[in-house]
Symmetry: none
Subunit: 219 residues, 2 copies
């Protein structure tokens, strides 16, 4: 209920306020709506509406309605990701841990065949199950719904974490566009494979369990 705080918006003339309201239920729960209020209290729900009201007194070409800030560079909205940002570096790091993943009928054997690069093994956290799981889970999540998903949320909310993590990694790699693209593809593929595997197996198990249940009843 206190979520209705109206904050000043430096990108707009004095007196204009910005408000962000989180959706609480429904299909879009968790998403948010952004509103602006003129000095006189009039509410604006979209950039076109705002633009019409301000006319040519303010140039909103670079104004990002959602963040409330002026975006340099493009005259339009551009969710530009660039190559040396923390996200790309973090992806590179996790991809290193993922890339030699092998399948096996024995889980422990798989663990051995992961064959993490020595340097990264040493740098990374302890080799325990929990840490491995966290690493994989993070990588999977990072590679999904690329920009607007959990990735951007976490990154924007925890800049300190990203900066710390990527700092030491920066020294180890010279990252080219081509490399980053390759890494992203690999991560994406690895993620899809895991997803499909998870799905297929759980369905197979479910079917099997169901069959057993039925057989038990009729036996």
């Amino acid at each position: 209920m206190m979520e209705r705080k109206r904050t000043d918006c430096p990108a707009l003339p004095p007196g204009w306020k910005k408000e962000e309201v989180i959706r609480k239920s429904g299909l879009s729960a968790g998403k948010s709506d952004v509103y602006y209020y003129s000095p006189t209290g009039k509410k604006f729900r979209s950039k076109p509406q705002l633009s019409r009201y301000l006319g040519n007194t303010v140039d909103l070409a670079c104004f990002d309605f959602r963040t409330g800030k002026m975006m340099p560079g493009k005259l339009q909205k551009q969710k530009q990701r660039f190559r040396h940002d923390p996200l790309s570096l973090a992806k590179l790091f996790w991809e290193k841990r993922l890339k030699s993943l092998r399948s096996s009928d024995v889980s422990e054997q798989v663990l051995r065949t992961m064959d993490l690069p020595k340097g990264l093994q040493a740098v990374g956290p302890d080799p325990s199950h929990d840490t491995l799981l966290s690493a994989i889970a993070s990588a999977l999540h990072m590679s999904s719904t690329p920009i607007t998903g959990q990735t951007s949320v976490a990154a924007e909310k925890n800049p300190a974490i990203w900066l710390n993590t990527s700092q030491p990694l920066c020294k180890a790699f010279t990252v080219t566009d081509e490399q980053i693209r390759d890494q992203e593809v690999k991560v994406s593929q690895a993620r899809r494979s895991l997803e499909e595997a998870l799905m297929a197996d759980s369905l197979a198990r479910a079917a099997e369990n169901t069959r057993e249940l039925l057989e038990g009843k009729t036996a």
Copy 2:
């Protein structure tokens, strides 16, 4: 008004309709979007989404989404995988790993916020914390990109999936649309929380270990 006609689609089961809408403005004006409607009226905006919903009941491998016809020459997407291929085996591995996931106070809270009906919890094969966590983790992964939103399984009530997986659970409940909807929201929220928690934690660990390593070297 412009009647956008929904035409029957012989390549799909009876009752399914196809619609083509021309974009009338913007940069992509003139391009068209193709939608399908299930017999119940649900709208589908892409082949993956359609495929998810129909599951194994219809093989869309040769289905051309844009034209709505089967194209025998064009095999593209592979969907069905079984437990003896590398992917399924990899899945078994990760399931093992998932089972050992221990929850911090963060993940504990995530679980609690899911607020599963008690009846459902008891009905499950294994009421242990580990199994519950595994199920949740699996669901999270299964629900992402290829499956579209995590809500897709429940939201679209994919017949193939639910028939197998929820067989034992279905008997205990009369599931209404409203209940499914509520559940979707909770899963959605829990997923976001888990994503953020996992990412923040694993990155924090990486940063910490790296720092310690560097300090050791310079000491």
